[in-house]
Amino acid sequence: MTEVEVLSVIRALFPTLMALSSLALVPLIRLWRGSQRDDAAEYATVGVQLLLLATSIGAVLAGPGYLSTLRLGQITIDPSEPGRLLVLLGGIVFAVIVGAGEGRRAGTMGQIALCGIAAIDLALAAPSGIAPIALLLFASLAISGAAASGKDDAGRARAVFRDLRTVSLLLPAVVIAEILRTAISYAAVDASYATPASLAAGTALGVSLVLIVAAGVFPFHNRLIKIFEALPIVGSLLVGVWIPSALALIVMSELSALASSITDPIGGAIVPGILLAGAATLVFGAVSALLNDDIGEIVGYLAVGNAGWLAIAAAAALQSPTDTTSRLIVLPGTLAISLFGLWLVSVRRRYGTTSISELGGWARHTSAHGITLTAAIVALVALPPGAVLAARVNLLLLGGNPLIALFAVIGQILLIVAAIRLLLVGFTPQSQTVHEAETRPFANLITISLVAGSIFVAAAAAGWLALESGGTGPLPPAPSVSPEASFDPAPSFVPSVAPSADPTPSVTVSPEVSPSVMPSGGGEISPAP
């Protein structure tokens, strides 16, 4: 292997290499520190935090360009711009969360975060057939299993069991969608079968189902709530927010490609159904967040509200395939919920409770936590008004239904009210629990990183830093769809796979040109023979 090839391996697989390093690093630290378990845990925490930050820096340096493309035989790993952006911000977010969480298992949580980030990067770098979706679904299951380990808690185990069932049911849906998508090309030239529009509707339903279930859109919100109730915050955020966001990017690109490949509008009630589910999710999440008194559950319901925006964005991708707005809201939403997660873990660690009634005056007692929640609210509102807010308004306009748009707006306002309520509780008279809690001096590494990290992430989420992510490009057809691979005689008509214009351009321009960014004609209709 030449030096250039070694460098391309490192650039393409950097997050994966960091995740693998952490699997060796933490046991080595524990071995080195011996029986001093608290001491070993502190060293392990610092070790994984450094690896998380190194992953962020490495992702920025390696980038998604041509030099980072790796070819190993038939396998191509081609890091994408949204994938590298998720790694950049994910590394920083989880480094701060792991630091704020402290404790004996902080090192393990850091390892889990590194593995989750690596899986997201790898999935968005391998847009071939069902591989990226399968990779993300199974990574989600593995992460929930790992995050729930450590103690024999039946609640945690049942949450993982629910995830196992969900993942096992989603994969057949993806494969059926893939089969229907392949049939679209053939149906266009043979009137005796289903129409391309109806096959596209079936494909859209199958692919959307993956997003709706994985993200926790109503009526599948219960999975997300149970995840936030049962799993540690790193596992909850990865399984409930970050991995669904990566799935959303893939699904939206696929839906855009699908909608742009047929001339008729996609039939059935697919688009109105997804729109309605999105608006209902926003309202349901917001009302539930307002009615709950447990901050863990409130953050879970805020994540449900964010899932509502993902569903609305998916519907918009189907309605207007050339519009990239749908993909712009994914990252800000992910970062906003991560900030709420950061606030949750730091407050829970400091006060040892998640009940609002016991947290009166928390913001006056620990102002750093107040800054974190304020940053989270700024990220949720997307202030000052800019690209993120404009993207949300545009999505509602693309939906084309004023009533659903009104519901979504009401839901978003109620979500903000629910978040502000948490902040207001912090300024009420101090409860006994808060009064007795120890405080740390503000000039402390953990506190400084908490405040600085919150402000940075809020700035990214609200659009101040102009960090944007485009789609991954449509999934190409299954590599082995050629007639030689099948048992039976070749089809009477072989669709052409001529490259088409990219319907989902990335909004940030990479200076380097990747040789494999040109999308293939997945799901496109070929001319009649």
Partner: protein, 201 residues
């Protein structure tokens, strides 16, 4: 290999049916046979390097090694649980599942109502039969081990259905799906252990 296709299909369907109807040793042995036969069917034609088959078998081997319950290989118990009479008795106790498998097999032999002509009848029949057998317990079972086995049966069926149309998986997808098999088995086994431990406490 094509001459072995029909026997392998029948073995896979029978093993899948036993994996969701039996308990204990019989079910795990049936699951192992299902994994081997479905992998051989999936990667028999279009994978000259056999890398996909090696990946799949390694993944399932690791998963089974982690998930198999203790005392599985007790010789007397194995002989008793795997006796032909016991297996037939198990199938007779679950006529609905057996009928579902047969119906799935017949349904799979009917050509797809889609304009895809290059599809293998035998693989499609095996895939649909395994999906029909695996999905109901996956949706309804409250027992973790049974759900894990149903998940593996469903995933094997899904992959066979896909293979019948698209051919064998590319190496990266084979790696992802192989990891999925391992993940299902390891996580299922670990959840079952934790729930039984917490119930004992």
């Amino acid at each position: 290999m094509p001459s072995l296709e029909v026997p392998l299909v029948l073995i896979a369907i029978l093993a899948g049916t036993l994996a969701v109807t039996s308990a204990g040793r019989g079910a795990w042995v049936a699951l192992t046979i299902l994994a081997l036969s479905s992998s051989a069917l999936e990667f028999s034609v279009a994978d000259p390097n056999r890398i996909g088959l090696i990946l799949r078998l390694s993944a399932i081997g690791i998963g089974l090694a982690a998930a198999l319950p203790e005392n599985l290989f007790d010789r007397d118990a194995l002989r008793r649980d795997l006796a032909l009479r016991t297996l037939i008795g198990t199938l007779r106790e679950h006529p609905v599942v057996v009928a579902s498998a047969a119906a799935g097999l017949l349904l799979g032999l009917v050509p797809l109502a889609l304009p895809i002509e290059s599809s293998s009848d035998a693989l499609r029949a095996a895939g649909i039969a395994l999906l029909v057998v695996g999905l109901p317990p996956l949706l309804t079972s409250r027992f973790i081990e049974a759900t894990t086995r149903a998940a593996v049966v469903t995933l094997a069926g899904t992959m066979l259905l896909r293979t019948s149309i698209f051919g064998a998986l590319d190496p990266l997808t084979a790696l992802a799906i192989g990891a999925g098999f391992t993940c299902l088995l390891v996580v299922g086994g670990s959840v079952a252990t934790r729930i039984s431990n917490s119930e004992e406490e």
